[in-house]
Every structure is written in C-alpha cells, then in structure tokens.
C-alpha cells in the first residue's frame, strides 16, 4: 500500500514534457545576480565591493544571523555592481552582480575532497552552514537550522522528500535518476549529523524509475527505506509527507521536530554531500524549464544568479502565445512579470504558460458544495475562513485556524465557482501577523513608559 494523507487534489501532472530530458549544463552565464535574500530568515551581509575580483565559490555575503546563510559567487569574475535588483520574490533586493571573466576558476579551498568518516557531526554541520545550503524544495529554509534541533527534542527519523508533487516539476526526479549515489551519501551525512538511525525517501508512484534507482542505491545502507507514495498534491507538503511515511501528525502550530522528524529535499541532500565531502558551496542547482510556453522543455543544472531569460533560451525560447511566467510549480509558484530575474536557491522550476492556460472563468458566489473542505489537507473550512477574511473578522478567522493554512492552493484549484480562497487566506494570515506585530509594539511601548 502506498502511503498518503487525507484530502488533496489530482491536477494533471504534466511531467511528460520534461521527465525524460537529461540534466544539461548550460554555458557559463556572462552575468549573475545574487540577491542577499534568497532564503527564509535574516538577509545576508555583503562582504565584497564593486570592482573586486571574485572566484567561483568565494563568499560574497556572510550570514546575517543564525537563521540566515552566506552567499557565494557562482562564477569567477568582477563584481560589477552592488545594488538593489529585482528578485523573483517580486521585490527589489540588495544584490551582488558579477560579470564573468570566462575562466570559471575555483576559489581556494573549494572543490577539495575531504574524508567524511573522520569528521565529527559538528564539523559536518559547520560545513553545511558555511556552504550556504537551504532547503531546495522551494521554501529555502536554512538547512543547518533544521540540523540543530534544541536539546529537548530528540530526532529519530530523517525523511528525504523526493515526492515532487507540483505538476510540471521534474528536477528532483532527474537528480534521483542521475545522482542517486550523491543523494544517498548526503542522506548518510544528515543521519550522522542528527545521530539518528531511521531514514526514509518518499517518492510518488508516478516516478517508478526513480523508486527503482533509489531502492537500488540504498541497498547497502542500513535503516534507509524508499517509500512509494500515492500521486496526489500536496503529497510533498512537509506535514503531509511525515504523515504518509510515519503516520505521525505534526501538532498544529508545531514543527516536524516535535514528532522527531527532519525533512529534507533530495536536492538538499545532494548539496549537503557536495558541501561536506567535496567542499563545494551551494552555487548551482537543478532547475526544470518547462511548460507549453517554451519550445523544448529541459532540465538544467543552473548557476545561481543566472537570469531566467538565459535559461529560457536553453529551452528553445518562448512559443508565440506565452503569457505567464512562474517561478516554481503551478500550484504554489510565484508569477513573474519579467524574465530578467535571477535563479535563486529556491528556484526549482521555471514554468511558462500559454494564454489559454491562464484564463479562468469569473468568480461566482459560493454554492457551499464543500469541495474545498473535502480537499483541504489541513482539514480547515476554506470557504468559511475566506468569507471571514472578506469581512475582516480576524478573530473569527483565527479561531477557525487560519494560521494552520499551508497555502497549498487545493481549495482555489477545486472550487467550482472559482473563488479565490487561498488568496484570501494568505491575505488574512499576513493581516493577522501585522496586527499581532502592532499589538506587541504597543505593549512594549507601554511597558517602557512604566
């Protein structure tokens, strides 16, 4: 029996467009843009100046705190500018712009093999931290933070996320097929850092070849199991995956570590291996460039900071009717108004959609069919909460658990009257956070007065 969760939707996975395309390495980009905010947490602090020579793998910005990561040059060349540039998050972010010198030289100390067996878990964790690794599934949460659980939480299970439940995305699928060894070695390192013996690799059943390859790759490793999971979105959601694999429920408002689990993307495991064993910081990642809006969908290993338009060229350019460009999958990806934005650490997919795919019928009143309730993987009442948000009833929305929404978008996807449910829920969450911050500030001010 394949594992799964309750709720969820079954969009057309559209993976045929690119799942048999081998990962290719495009030419070195002539220019890269490295924003200081590519991750969740504090922005990094830039440590280079305009005009400075940098080499591949050299740190250009240091971590801005514990929940933060450093950034590294992804090519060798000259720092052309340090200025705010548009990032795919839709805002301008202070960035390091590097112009290539075409040499692609490694910085000192990078790309040198190390003996993992002689390293302590603290050494390994430090290597992950200095390599600037974040979760490569899309959320981009600093990996070393997940690997540093507080003392009172014991972790007994590492789960690698090879689910890739977003339609269109195939980059994780490809790296599982092409670099299974690196992933498994990375998983081994993760296990050692956390000191736990159990590990699972969760993969959706629509990737039977990847399941086979990974099963073969983990043969010699004790306590590692490849779990096949039902094809259903959002099977790869952290809480859903943990439940599907271990039947443990992450408490509402809690974290995976509350149930003894750490979840990492398969790409992250590979990056961890490269960082710890080979001394390579996170300067590139697998990206799927796909959709009906490009001529020839491809999977590429892209240098971070490569602009989208350069990768689109690798996919044969746009088709005539292209109309929407999305970073990430079609369910949770961020839509872009221009392709002059860089690939960041969380860019798993660049999706171009044609005009007819982007036209939806008008929003109509709710007919209370309850479909959004049936599909909500968090068991919320999306239509009820959305109405509360529309009427600015923030306290009611909170008591209906709006803050537990994982923003997967199943409710909007399924709604027969096309209501923008998840949009309202996201807005409500942001608004409630804003109100809370304001209240705390007031409280603080009042206390200071006393």
């Amino acid at each position: 029996m394949a594992g799964t969760f309750s709720g969820g939707v079954h969009p057309d996975d559209a993976k045929l467009l690119s799942n048999n395309k081998k990962l290719i390495t495009p030419a070195i980009p002539s220019i890269v843009i490295l924003p200081v905010r590519q991750h969740i947490g504090a922005p990094s602090k830039i440590v280079v100046e305009k005009g400075q020579q940098v080499k591949k793998g050299q740190m250009v910005a240091e971590a801005g705190g514990f929940v933060s990561v450093p950034q590294h040059a992804s090519i060798s060349g000259v720092v052309k500018a340090v200025e705010p540039r548009l990032s795919p998050m839709g805002i301008k972010v202070q960035s390091v712009v590097i112009e290539s010198d075409g040499k692609d030289e490694w910085a000192e100390g990078c790309n040198t093999e190390r003996t993992v067996s002689s390293m302590s878990s603290d050494d390994m964790r430090e290597a992950v931290k200095t390599a600037g690794i974040v979760g490569l599934g899309g959320a981009a949460f600093p990996t070393h933070v997940k690997l540093s659980p507080p003392k009172d939480k014991s972790i007994d299970t590492v789960i690698l996320n090879g689910v890739e439940c977003e339609p269109y995305a195939t980059c994780d699928h490809r790296i599982m097929l092409e670099y299974p060894e690196k992933i498994v070695k990375g998983l081994d390192i993760l296990k050692k850092i956390l000191g736990c013996s159990n590990a699972y690799i969760g993969i959706e059943q629509n990737k039977p070849d990847a399941i086979k390859v990974m099963r073969n790759a983990v043969k010699d490793y004790k306590g590692v199991k490849v779990v096949s999971l039902k094809v259903k979105y959002p099977q790869g959601g952290e809480k859903q995956l943990i439940y599907a694999v271990t039947k443990r429920k992450v408490p509402a408002g809690g974290l995976p570590m509350d149930v003894g689990c750490v979840v990492q993307n398969v790409g992250t495991a590979m990056a961890v291996y490269e960082a710890v064993a080979l001394g390579i910081p996170l300067i590139q990642r697998a990206v799927t460039v796909t959709g009906h809006g490009v001529k020839e969908p491809v999977n590429v290993i892209a240098r971070l900071g490569t602009t989208f338009d350069q990768l689109i060229e690798n996919a044969g350019g746009y088709t005539e009717n292209v109309s929407k460009l999305i970073m990430g999958g079609p369910m949770m990806g961020i839509s872009q108004f221009t392709d002059e934005v860089p690939v960041v650490k969380g860019t798993s997919c660049i999706l171009a959609m044609e005009e007819q795919e982007t036209v939806f019928s008008a929003e109509l009143p709710c007919i209370s069919c309850g479909m959004c309730v049936d599909v909500c993987p968090m068991h919320l009442l999306p239509t009820t909460i959305a109405s509360m948000v529309e009427h600015e009833r923030w306290d009611d929305a909170k008591s209906y658990h709006i803050l537990d929404c994982i923003e997967c978008g199943c409710c909007t996807y399924i709604c027969p009257t096309n209501r923008r449910l998840v949009e309202n829920l996201k807005f409500g969450k942001a608004k409630i956070a804003e109100i809370r911050a304001k209240e705390q500030a007031q409280k603080k001010a009042a206390e200071e007065k006393k």
Partner: protein, 345 residues
Amino acid sequence: MARLFKVSATPHLRDATNIPTIMYSVVVALIPALIGAIYFFGLPALWITLLTVFSCVIAEGIIEKMSGKPLTIWDGSAIVTGILLAFNLSPGVSWWIPVVGGIFAIVVGKMTFGGLGYNPLNPALLGRVFLQQSWPVEMNASWTLPRGIPAIDAETIATPLTILKENIAVLKSSNALSDNIDAVINASGRLGDLQVSYMDMFVGRIPGCLGETSVMLLLIGAAFLLYKRYIGWRIPFSFVGTVGLLTWIFGGYEGFFTGPWLFHILSGGLIIGAFFMATDMVTSPITKNGRFVFGIGCGLLTTIIRLIGGYPEGVSYAILLMNLTVPLINRYTQPKVFGEVKNRV
C-alpha cells in the same frame, strides 16, 4: 522594456469542474427516472416536466433582467430545480400547478435571497410544499395508476404510503376496539397486498409522484453522481439508513422491531429526497461530520412525520426543516485541524 507577463496569485491551475458541469450532470442523472416516468405515467409526465423547467428558467431570466444582474439561466441550476419539482408532482395535476410551482420555487425560493448560492432552502421542495399547502385538493386528488397495473377502482387510487398509514392506524386502534373485525380483516388484507409488491416498488410500478416511484432508475442516476463525486455518500446513506432503522423499530403494529422498513425505504420520496434533494450543495452542510448529522436529522424527521405526523409522507418537510439548521450544523461540526490541537502561544 523586455517582454511583460501576466501576474496573478497562486494557484495557476484550476480544475475544469464548474457550476454548469455539476448541474448538467445532475440533469443527466435524472434522465433515467424521467424516461421511467414517461413510460409509467404517459406523456403527461413529459409535459409537466417541461412546464416546470420552462417556468423556472423563464422566471429566473425575468428576475435577473429586472434587477440588472448577469443572466445565469444557462448554468443549469434552474433546469435542475424544474425537473426536481416536476418529479414531486402527481402525474395528473392540471397544467397551471407546475407553472405556479416553478415560478414560486425560483422567485421566492431562490431569487429573493440573491440567487444560486444564497438560498437557505431547497427551491424545488419549497415549491412543492407551497403547492401542497395552497391547493391540497388538486395536489392529492390526481394520482394516476402507472402502466402495468390494472385499474380496478379508479376512485381509490392512493400511494402505497397512504395505504400503509391508514391501515396500520386501523390495526393499531382495533386492538382496543374488538368490534371492528371487518375493518381489521380489510386492513390486513390490504397490507398483505402491499407486501408482495416490493419488486413493483423497486421498479416503479406504483402510484406516486411522477419521478419518485422508480427506485431503480433513481439509483442509476445517483450512482453516476456518486461516481462523479458531485454528491457525497454521507447524506443519502445516513438519511436512508436512519429511516430504515427507525421504521423497523417503531413502524410495526405488532410491537417493536416489526416495522416494514424495506417498504418505507422503497416508497414515497425517500430515495429521490435522499440522493437528489438532501444532497443539494447549497442547502446542505459543508463539513463531513455535518453531513452525517444532516442526514440523520432528515431521517429522524421523516420517520416522525410518517409514523405519527399528519401526513403519509414527510421527506419534503424533513429536508426543508433540516435545511434551516445547516448554518448551525456547520458551526458545531468544524473538523479537527490536521495534527492535534495544542495551546498556542
């Protein structure tokens, strides 16, 4: 400036299902029963259905034109209301009954509240109840015999439920009045006749409203909707199950657990009510547990009306009364959030 792209919030995909797909699927699901009605009751069944459908659609169109709202008559919901209303009328009603019923169902039952999605009560049922209360004679004196049943006594045509109710009442009261022997024998005989006709009831060869009699054809349509997931199983199964259970326990005249439960399930409007009207999306709960509560409530009220109420049939009233409780049910059956709830900081 380089090429500009469309920007929108997530998700960037939509399921193809919309209101028309759902409504027209319901229409398709009702077609077997409509064909059955035409077969059993002749062409009047078709004319009545067309009259209700047209009056519903036209009434909706006129109201929307008058109030300057976008025209929604093609979304199929008025057609569904029309067909369901027709299915709740007896095959021999005069032409103006379906017309008045259709107009009332749409104008008062639906458009007054703001149209599809805002109506608290099932419009078709409201139309039916309005007709029944306003013109009881016309509504109840017009039962016709279906094809395949020899007309013995045209004046005493009654639905099986009416026969059951009257005769069980006779048998219950006769325990005290022993001088009423003729009546007892008569009543037992009639009930005996009823027992043998389960197959007729399943197929639809019984007098009744034109679309409610054939359990078989209704279930074919319901199976299609269940398969398409446009109706859930929770409401109809808990509704029918409750009626079956309660009538088995309390419905007999020889004590508890002797009631003709299968008879109650197969007769009257229970099947069409449970599968096609109680499941109406707008007027049923959105939560999974709420749907059970709703179904059980409908079953309970139906049984109470059938066994001790003044009418032989109670499905319509039961559903309408339960419709009114939906907001309350929704409020008290909030699902538990995934992951046990702990005290938030």
